[in-house]
Amino acid sequence: MLFVGVKNKTAAVDDRLDLFESLMKDSYKPAYGLAYRLTGNAAEAEDLVQETYVRAYRFFHRFDESLPFTSWLYRIMTNAHIDSVRRRGRLRTTSLDTSGNDGATTWDIADQDGSPDRLMLQNSLDEPVQKALLSMTPEFRTAVLLADIEGLAYEEVAEIMKTSVGTVRSRIHRGRKQIRTHLLKHAPQTYRSFCDEL
């Protein structure tokens, strides 16, 4: 009797772990995309993804299967990112005026196929956008990324960030204004050309 109970429990645990692996395989690419935007480079993004899945694995028993896995995962990732930034006691505040021009700072920018004007402009703006994101506090950066790049509703962002919709609304608005100010200062021509293309 005891052995049957243990066997059933083990089978249930195995099923749950199989489910976790399957969810992980479906979600790791978009998770990496968010991690990349949060950290600004491939090495830190991969570390963040690995840390996120380790935490997710350990707390998978708390995951409610009726809710989207990515929302739960992104909550873990944003917390892990904020923890990591605080632990290191630094925000990524690389000088925006000198980076890229002095040759000392490099940015991994994703390649993208296609060459219409708008895409070209978009690619040219990718680096200044990433720099602007990294100059923000992790809370502002996370709110903007979840809303604009992941396309989540404010309520979902609030749920992920464990804060109110009002705070999310304010962070997104102020975050976007910071990015625009940065683009108008550091890539004015490209940014204006992009706006004209719309």
Binding site: F20, K29, Y57, Q112, L183
Partner: protein, 153 residues
């Protein structure tokens, strides 16, 4: 609604996060205010730019490394649980042994061995001394069962 209030709500407006009166008021304001309309267009362009940011691809072996991590955790966690169980088992065993030793030394065991379960303070005293005669006012109605008249059931 003045220009400042409208501009503070423009991101939420563009994200379709407003409803009811707030939405109608902003829409009405934008139709008449050139400055706020320009601000709205600027934020819309930025939103479009951010929404089109390409998603970088992870390295090819990331999935394999993640799976390997999961495998490691999958087989390490039960080991850790087993280790905890072993420590608990050892603690319980040690407590039992200590309890048994204490019991043997207390003299209770002797009383039980002599076939009598001490039920009163007097019996306990006998068990501890091993000599019923030494107990003042021992109960003559309750003879001590000795090894000589002990009959196993």
């Amino acid at each position: 609604m003045n220009c400042k209030s409208v501009q503070n709500r423009l991101s939420a407006y563009l994200d379709r996060e407003l409803g009811g009166d707030e939405l109608l008021q902003i829409r009405a304001h934008l139709s008449t205010c050139k400055e706020c309309r320009a601000e709205s267009d600027g934020l819309r362009a930025l939103k479009s730019l951010l929404g089109g940011v390409p998603c970088p691809e992870p390295s090819e072996d990331l999935c394999e490394r993640l799976t390997a991590n999961m495998m490691r955790l999958r087989y390490e966690e039960p080991k850790r649980t087993l280790k905890v169980s072993a420590v608990m088992f050892a603690s319980v065993a040690a407590c039992s042994m200590l309890g048994t030793l204490f019991f043997m030394n207390s003299g209770l065991a002797k009383s039980i061995w002599h076939g009598r379960t001490p039920s009163s303070g007097k019996d306990l005293a006998i068990a501890q001394n091993g000599n019923p005669e030494a107990i003042t006012g021992s109960d003559p109605a309750g003879p001590i069962i000795s090894a000589a008249n002990f009959v196993p059931r």
